[in-house]
Amino acid sequence: MALISIALVIFLIPLTAFAMNVIAPKSRARTASYISIILLLISTILSSILLLKIGSESAVTRMDWFTVGSYTFEVGVLLDFQGVLLLVIVNMVSLLVHIYSVLYMAKDPGYTRYFGFLSLFTFAMAGIILSDNLLMVFVFWELVGLSSYLLIGHWYSKDSAAKASKKAFIVNRIGDTGFVVALCIIWYQFGTFNLDEIQVLMESSQLQNGSWVSGLSALPAVWLSFMGIGLFLAAVGKSAQFPLQVWLPDAMEGPTPVSALIHAATMVAAGVFLMSRVVVLLDLTTLAIIATVGSITAFMGAVAALAQYDIKKVLAYSTISQLGYMLIGIGTGAYEAALFHLFTHAFFKAALFLAVGSVIHSLHALKQKHNLNIDAQDMRIMGGLKSNLPVTFYTYLIAAFSLMGLPLFSGFLSKDALLVASLNWSAAVGQLAYGVSLLAFATVTLTAFYMGRQLLLVFFGDFRSGFSVSEIQEGGWHFKVALIILCTLSIGFFWSFNPFDYMSSWLLNTLPAKLNSTPQFDLEVRDATNHSFVGVGSIALVMAGVLLAWLKFKPGKILTFAESDQLSFLERVSINNWYLDKFYERTILSFIRWLTLVLAQVERKVIDRLVNSFGWIGVIFSFVVGWLDKVFIDGLINFSAFFSSQVGGMTKSFQYGKVQSFIIFALVSLALIIFLIL
């Protein structure tokens, strides 16, 4: 019970911070941001306490939410190791990003709005992590998407930022359709959204004669795959997987700390986290699809990162590629390795983004000082920054080594675990599946190459902007604190007592093994036979990539940057992200535009006409009715009125006040009566 109340406090703290930043007046903006930093510090400490207490236990507390007909929906808190660990990471990275942003966003007019949305995001993320049922996860999932949209469009007056935020939002909605479909199937089949109950029901469900039976409910077996694919589609949208990865590079339009928190460390990892929550529901087909899509994404992202000149885009594509890795882990049945990579990636990628933000910040200051017309994110004007940005450089170096997967750094451990898992899975499944491992291993080299390239272009060689490198100044303690803490946590010792062997990692050993309970699931790929081979091989591949980068961009070499029309084929493929945007533009978007034109025509020509002719019919009909009304109905009434007035007139004439005529009538009537009687 105590744990649950701590969890609720952690859950509500960011919401408080959000409310406070929203209502804070402009003059108190700075105070409000410092208070939210303190609040987040508290929730980070509380979640660390929670992590120490929870161990490998898990606890669920739930209560009724609302009832529809005979169905009762519940809200609840699920505390388990993987969730609480992610909670710690989200809170900690969010805390550091908050600290960092105080300096980074200092002169921004939307300061309170920015901090408010950062807190809202942290709240939504905590919601996803703590929810014990998929409906709540879905609610917070959408809230996370909303805060991502709001933060990408922070500089909404900039056209590209507004477009990028819309793109991110719409592409995410495509994925969410999958989520909704999966929720429908789960509700139909199990009648509950609670994760633990679903797991139990899934274990007891069976495949019989091509139908998937659970309790009284039976569906054709294909719906089992549909459910998994639907859930996966949600992760594809949120975690920027092929073919929906196009939103993430554009999302770099947001402020760099936002990219660090949301589009590198936490939100994009929500897809992977969701997959790890529902991994028990995935059947073999779905897992194969996930592994394939993950490997394709990893490779495509790495290739796209090779030739980028925008310093943030390199990291964006790298994030896509690393998320691909995590999904390889999910698809190959090594969900704990995927989570491991998620956690280590959160730190080193946030460190990389914040280091890059520091570089951009410094160059931006230079740009404003001399009133230059340069792009502060273009690596072509950078170079030789290591002496003037020492903290940034060293933290970047450590985080980059970790991302490449060099031993002693956290990335090595988690990447190793993933590579082993992919190789074992390929061996277990068969020949074609080796493609997955092949792409995963190729990506190792590519990752080393593009990180080496970025490192050399930004920090080594000569400063190519035309100004003296001594004019570059590093940001204050806000930057340094965040960078140093994040890169310290990217060192391998924090994750495993033996930094060369992921098997001794406390994290992997604490994570409970989730046996896949899908009916007829017989794949067993849980061993470490290829461990040393993979470790050595991946180091060799990293070295090859770094060497290539060194040969191409070594300091002192005269670098020439080709114009965009003189690029080689590979470079063009890379810089345009496999022409995916153009492909969508030409196919789906132009089809949709054509469709809207056609529909507009249909609307104008058919529907409008139909409506108009209905209108005409109405007018004519009402004229007829009006005529009928006037002639018949009114005529009838007028006639009756006329008749009564005539009768009235006639009767009135008897009573005209002439007493003598009364007497005449009386007399005549009397005479008539007498005559009739006699």
């Binding site: 005209y656 006040g657 002439k658 007493v659 003598q660 007497i663 007399l667």
Partner: protein
Amino acid sequence: MIPAEHFYYIGAALFSIGLAIVLTKRNAIMILMGVELMLNASNINFLAYNKAGSLDGQFFALFVIVVAAAEASVALAIVLKVYKHFKTINLDKIADIKD
């Protein structure tokens, strides 16, 4: 002996004359006089029926005369009031009952 029919003839003639006066005259007092004639015509009828022997008819005639006198006094009082109100006793002009 004058036969009874002659009385009836006179009564009828008198009644008709009274009726004609009531119907044709415009002056309220003239109409009252017509009414008196008609009452007296009925008196003659009562007396004529009485020729057989009993005295009932004569008593009726006496009653009629008394009632007629009372009626005439009341009617003349009304006519006086009407005259004060309308400054005329022409019945056509005071036909205010209409509307």
